[in-house]
Symmetry: C2
DNA sequence: ATTATCTATAGATCTATAGATAATGC
DNA sequence: ATTATCTATAGATCTATAGATAATGC
């Protein structure tokens, strides 16, 4: 029943990856350790050889989810050297993102649960959050670094709130209106203060 | 053990009120029927004389929470006839609101859980959401009703996202920076497009 | 007589641990 | 010999129901 050290490391990665997906899909309380382990092909007892607690996994999985998003966003931005902010906003506020929280932004799928997580989880999240601020700082207008950072925060807040509002509504027409309205507002909004 | 019809109606209200508070504080899964009933001074078995299921209570409590917020916001806005938008934004993005999710905006405390709730809950939420759009439409700049509505959506999205970002972080300095940055951006941001 | 609430419990979860098992890696 | 995983289970939840109890309201 024992597996090689390398296999074990793979298992650990698989558990984190599955958790990052299912937590975003079902919430931190929406899936249990047993089901996660079953998805990876292991039994639930084995979980505690990899992690000290579910809480520890929540921290790892949250960081993983945000890190994945940052990578994807970087790619999207690099592939649109002109108007990167507009392209990124549309990408974030797309119908596709709305319908697939399990592979999307952690703040949109679990943001309001983060405040109720232990400090260790919030610390892991903050680390990635700062990276995202830096990434967005490069594509928003603004004369100084400080202004760009502010713009990045404002943009991210608008995107997260827009997606949460759109997802919270059972009416497709209204949720599409929300996505379209917020994403249209961003380039304009941002130009006002900075450049 | 039976109580009068009026007392029973009061109990029902108390259950909804307690739920609206505790759900925002601990999440929809963070408090159970038994504890809610204990808070009201009843036993858990009695719950199902008032509601068919916990899900039904989640719908009622969500609507209640949003309705309370709308009332408070209306008051805040009416008490600041000049610069209502700025005053409201500062009120929403205050440290006080950050520290008290249990009496604050449902979208900030439970927004990302709403997508995982059954349709009946989302319908109850949407009803109040439209009222909020109307309320904010009155204080944002814009030449036409359509533009004002769009501005209202953009503002609400920014506020919700800003509060969620601020709460998700374990560092007081960073979270205050987020609140201040987003709330400073709103009057500017909004003037750009509309009036 | 009706019924709001209580007591007791069923049945399903869920996190975590203990000890057994069997494969790795010295 | 060490250890990653499995089996089995403890102990704590949680939603929901059934039947008893006692107060209301006809």
């Amino acid at each position: 029943m024992k597996v090689s050290k390398q296999k074990m490391a793979e298992h650990r990665e698989q558990i984190i990856t599955a958790a990052a997906k299912r937590f975003r899909e079902k919430g931190f309380n929406g899936i249990g350790v047993a089901d996660l382990m079953k998805e990876v092909g292991l039994t639930h007892g084995g979980f505690y050889g990899h992690f000290g607690s579910k809480e520890e996994l929540i921290g790892m999985a949250s960081q993983r989810a945000l890190c994945e998003s940052t990578k994807k966003w970087k790619k999207v931005i690099e592939e649109a050297p002109d108007r990167p902010l507009e392209v990124f906003s549309r990408y974030y506020l797309s119908r596709r993102h709305q319908m697939h929280p399990e592979t999307g932004c952690l703040f949109a799928s679990l943001g309001s649960e983060l405040d109720r997580q232990p400090r260790s989880v919030k610390e892991a999240v903050m680390e990635e959050q700062l990276t995202i601020f830096d990434l967005l700082s490069r594509i928003v207008p603004g004369r100084t670094k400080a202004v760009k950072r502010k713009q990045a925060i404002v943009v991210l807040a608008g995107l997260i709130g827009g997606m949460i509002l759109a997802r919270s509504v059972p009416d497709d027409v209204l949720s599409e209106e929300i996505l379209e309205t917020v994403s249209s507002s961003i380039p304009n909004c941002v130009h006002a203060d900075g450049t």
